[in-house]
C-alpha cells in the first residue's frame, strides 16, 4: 500500500483522564480494522481495554548514564566536584552515580582522571508489537524516572506505519499522550487529523486552547469533542465556540455515563456495551471519520 493512502488519527486531550483512551478503544472497534498505537507511553492504558497478545518486545534506549567502575575508582572525588546535578553519592571512600539524578551529560566520564567511569546507553523502557481483536497494536512503556522525550512515541508511530504499509491497513488510530509537551508534538506531527477530547471545566478550556494552538503550528487539522458535556452545559458551549474560533471542527458531545467505567471493568470498549454513551461515541466517530 502506498503511504498516501494511509490516514492517521491521533486522539489527544490537554490534561489526562478526559476519556481519551475509552474513546480511542471505541474508535478501534468501530473502524473494524486499523493499526492501533498507544502513544501515552508514560501511563499506557489502552492495553487494559484491547487486551493485546504481545508478539514482539524491544528494549528502548535513550541517552546514556554514567556508571563508576568500583575496581578502577581511586576515590579522588573529581566527579563529585564537577557534577552539577548532585548525582554522585559517597559512602565512605566509595563513589556511586545516582541513576535518578544523573542527566547523562558525560562530564564526569570525560574528566575522571582514572578513566573509571563507563557511559552505557540508558535503558528507558520497552516497546511491543501485539495483536488485538481490532487489529495490530504497537505500544510501549517508559521506565520509572526516565525522561519522557518524544523519541519513544516516534518509534511507536514508525512501527505502526511499517505495519500499515506491510499489511495494507489504511488507517492508524493513536491514543495520544496528555499535555502539550514533546511527546504530544511527536505524536501529532504529520497526522491526518487530531481529535481533542476535552471536559467542560475551567482547566479543560485552558488546556484545549493550548493543544489547538499546537495543532495550528504543525498544520494538523483538528476536531474537538466534549466528554461528560452535561456536567456543565454552559462551559460546553463556551468550549465549542472556542474550538470553532480556533479553526477546529466540533464532532460531537458525549454524556456523563457510568457505563464508561463498566466497560473498563469488562475490559471492553464502551461501544461494545449497549449504553447511551456508546450511541454518542458512534456519532462522534461518524463525524470524525468523515474528516479523515
Amino acid at each position: 500500500m502506498k503511504k498516501d493512502h494511509i490516514r492517521e488519527l491521533v486522539v489527544l486531550s490537554g490534561k489526562g483522564g478526559t476519556g481519551k483512551t475509552s474513546i480511542s478503544a471505541s474508535f478501534a472497534v468501530l473502524a473494524g480494522k486499523a493499526v492501533l498505537t498507544d502513544c501515552d507511553v508514560d501511563a499506557a492504558d489502552l492495553h487494559l481495554l484491547l487486551r493485546p497478545e504481545v508478539e514482539q518486545r524491544h528494549a528502548f534506549f535513550s541517552g546514556n548514564e554514567a556508571v563508576i567502575r568500583q575496581q578502577d575508582c581511586t576515590g579522588c572525588g573529581t566527579c563529585l566536584d564537577i557534577c552539577r546535578f548532585k548525582a554522585i553519592n559517597t559512602t565512605g571512600a566509595s563513589y556511586q552515580v545516582d541513576p535518578v539524578a544523573c542527566e547523562g551529560c558525560g562530564v564526569c566520564v570525560r574528566f575522571c582522571p582514572a578513566s573509571a567511569i563507563d557511559f552505557p546507553k540508558r535503558n528507558c523502557g520497552e516497546w511491543m508489537v501485539s495483536t488485538t481483536r481490532c487489529g495490530p497494536m504497537v505500544h510501549a512503556h517508559l521506565g520509572i524516572a526516565a525522561e519522557n522525550s518524544g523519541k519513544l512515541v516516534s518509534t511507536v508511530r514508525e512501527q505502526a506505519w511499517c505495519i500499515a504499509v506491510d499489511k495494507r491497513i489504511p488507517l492508524i488510530i493513536s491514543d495520544g499522550p496528555p499535555g502539550i509537551g514533546c511527546p504530544v508534538i511527536a505524536s501529532m506531527s504529520g497526522v491526518s487529523l487530531a481529535l481533542v477530547v476535552t471536559e467542560p471545566t475551567v482547566s479543560g478550556l485552558h488546556d484545549l486552547q493550548r493543544v489547538l494552538a499546537l495543532a495550528r503550528h504543525f498544520s494538523v487539522p483538528a476536531a474537538v469533542c466534549v466528554n461528560k458535556w452535561d456536567i456543565n452545559p454552559g462551559q460546553t458551549e463556551r468550549i465549542e465556540a472556542a474550538a470553532r474560533s480556533a479553526g477546529a471542527e466540533v464532532t460531537g458531545r458525549i454524556r456523563y455515563d457510568r457505563s464508561v467505567t463498566q466497560a473498563q471493568h469488562q475490559q471492553k470498549a464502551v461501544v461494545e456495551l449497549t449504553t447511551a454513551a456508546a450511541d454518542d461515541i458512534r456519532l462522534v466517530w461518524k463525524q470524525t471519520a468523515a474528516m479523515l
Partner: protein, 120 residues
Amino acid sequence: MKKIAFSTTGQTLGAELDPRFGRSIHFLIYDLELESTQLLDNQQSRNAAQGAGIQAAEIIVRAGADTLVTGHCGPKAFRVLDAAGIAVYNCAAPTVGEALIALRSGSLSPASSADVEGHW
C-alpha cells in the same frame, strides 16, 4: 550553487521529498557540475531524543552542500544552516526530481527564517 541537499524518504531523484528536515530518512546530495548524486543516512539524527534538526544540519554542513531543499525547516536547524552559509529553500513538490526542476527554474526563493515552530 554547486551541491544541493534534498530531504527524502527514498534514494533516487524519483523518490518522495521528505517534508521533515530533522527527522528525514535520508539526504540526497546532487552535484550540479558532476550531475551525480550521493546518499546520506540520517539515522543518527532520527535517533536523537532532542535536537534532531541541529544534528541533521551538521550532516548537511559536513557534506559540503551549499543549498538545502526540504519541506519545512525549524528554527534551530535554520540557525546552524544559516551560520554555515547554506541557502534553505522550502518546497512542497512531491518528489526530489520535481523539487530540483523547480529550484533550477528559479521558481523557489530562499527562506530568510524557519518556516515552522520548533519542537520542545
